[in-house]
């Protein structure tokens, strides 16, 4: 039942008290002196109702939630729907280390090359933002946005907006089984999506060539 963290304004929902997590949560919040809280949801899948409950409880105690961290995209989407600041964090088992040569991850987590999986279609108004590569299994519907610091791969249709290399990585690529976005962004370059229908059954990828974003049939390297 060790749910406290060393930093005092953080509340962590641990894995161990699944049944009456509300009680434990209330205890944690009551015992916390700070008025601004960061909440770590870990691998919990919480619905809007659950998160609403958390918000309301904090409100009653005059505390505000500054950020919600979770490794579960569903919880992130629930929380951001309710207007909270959210960040997707990496859990060890969802991370695939591509580069095995990295010795001792002493140089902070940012140096690791990692990828996040998200399963499920992104609906209009939903935003997913990651600090790594992302492999999305499902569609990105019009009105939805995917952002990643690295590459974006979509096993499905890209009909919304994708922003790869959002922190300025010009090498980033956007790949999708069907690439018909409203808008494509790679690093600081922006392009409108193609008007004409793509050939079926051909995955396509977009990358920066020279000064513009170019769409080509995807190739294995």
């Amino acid at each position: 039942m060790n749910s406290f963290n060393s930093k005092k304004n953080q509340i962590i929902l641990s894995q161990s008290f699944k049944k009456n997590w509300q009680k434990q949560f209330e205890l944690d919040i009551k015992g916390n002196k700070y008025s601004q809280l960061e909440i770590f949801l870990g691998k919990w899948k919480l619905t809007c109702n659950d998160i609403n409950y958390i918000i309301n409880y904090c409100k009653r105690l005059n505390k505000t939630i500054s950020n919600v961290f979770s490794s579960e995209p569903e919880s992130i989407i629930s929380a951001s729907n309710l207007g909270l600041n959210t960040s997707l964090i990496l859990e060890k088992n969802t991370r695939i280390e591509r580069d095995l040569n990295i010795e001792n991850s002493s140089n902070s987590k940012k140096a690791e090359v990692s990828i996040i999986f998200h399963q499920g279609t992104l609906h209009a108004g939903e935003i997913i933002e990651v600090e790594s590569d992302i492999l999305l299994i499902g569609d990105v519907n019009p009105g939805a946005i995917v952002r990643a610091t690295g590459n974006i791969m979509i096993w499905g249709r890209l009909l919304g907006i994708a922003h790869a290399g959002k922190e300025g990585n010009h090498e980033s690529k956007i790949t999708a089984l069907q690439l018909r976005p409203v808008q494509l962004r790679i690093a600081d370059k922006i392009a409108k999506g193609p008007k004409e229908k793509p050939e079926e059954g051909l995955a396509e990828e977009a990358q920066i060539q020279g000064d513009v974003i170019v769409i080509k049939p995807a190739r294995t390297r």
Partner: protein, 271 residues
């Protein structure tokens, strides 16, 4: 007695696509199949489900009084004269929006669940508080949309929100379908819509002038036993919801038979 009550939210995101009309017609159809059915107007700000059912002048108490315990539930329920299996629980006044909470909504639905087999919730447009209240109490949902880009976009947004609330199943009703415009590809096709929304199609409703007439009279099409295209569509949807197997109509074949042409001719003469 425990009824396996089905609490169905009828929502769309965009306004004016036909949520209330569908709620009224489905309510009547389901009730006429013998299931006790309640329709709840969750659109507290702009209520008009009572108008469509022609029950406006019979409302005495509303959901508001029930919640304040100023009256009993059965006093507030307005029973439809011609279709006694159907009851309407009217919404309170628009000021109620300020204090109504999801818990209140749950309380109302719980009360209704004890007495009815179907509870249909007519959800307000938008995704703000009214929507959140309505969602909190529902178990399954029907999304109504028109074959228009804006309606489909809003429906998609609502689907995302319903997913995060854990509502299942969510089914789709495509309203105001114009077979001719679909054929000439001036309108989004059925495939275009189901492709993006990726929901099981519960039914199509054809565009029909009779809907406007019946709305203004306060007599839902399914009540007066109309044989107009939309009335057939509505009762098909109710049948499918009830578990019957009814094939989807093919819009390209609608209105081409001699009987349909004759009926249309007759209608244009009369009105």
């Amino acid at each position: 007695m425990t009824l396996d009550t089905r609490v169905i939210l009828i929502c769309s995101g965009k306004g004016g696509v036909g949520k209330t009309t569908l709620t009224a017609n489905l309510g009547i159809s389901l009730a006429s199949k013998g299931s006790p059915t309640a329709v709840l107007d969750a659109d507290f700000g702009l209520r008009n489900l009572d108008l469509l059912l022609g029950l406006e002048n019979r409302i005495v108490y509303t959901a508001q009084e029930v919640l304040e315990e100023a009256c009993r539930l059965d006093q507030a329920l307005v029973k439809h004269k011609q279709e006694p299996n159907l009851s309407l629980l009217p919404a309170g006044n628009p000021r109620m929006l300020d204090w109504l909470k999801p818990e209140d909504m749950k309380k109302i639905i719980e009360m209704l669940s004890k007495e009815f087999k179907y509870v249909l919730i007519d959800c307000p447009a938008g995704v703000e508080d009214g929507f959140k209240n309505a969602v909190a109490a529902s178990k399954e949902a029907i999304i109504v949309t028109n074959p228009e880009v804006s309606a489909v976009r809003d429906a998609d947004r609502v689907i995302g929100l319903l997913n995060t609330h854990g509502i299942k199943p969510v089914q789709l009703v495509l309203n105001r379908v114009r077979p001719k415009m679909m054929e000439t590809q001036e309108m989004l096709s059925i495939e275009d819509v189901t492709d993006i929304l990726a929901l099981p199609l519960l039914g199509l409703v054809l565009e029909d002038e009779q809907v406007i007439v019946s709305t203004n009279r306060g007599e839902p099409l399914t009540l007066i036993g109309s044989k107009s295209p939309a009335a057939r569509c509505y009762s098909n949807i109710a049948g499918r919801l009830h578990g019957e197997e009814i094939p989807l109509i093919d819009p390209s074949k609608e209105g081409t038979s001699f009987r349909d042409k004759f009926r249309r001719l007759m209608q244009t003469k009369i009105f």
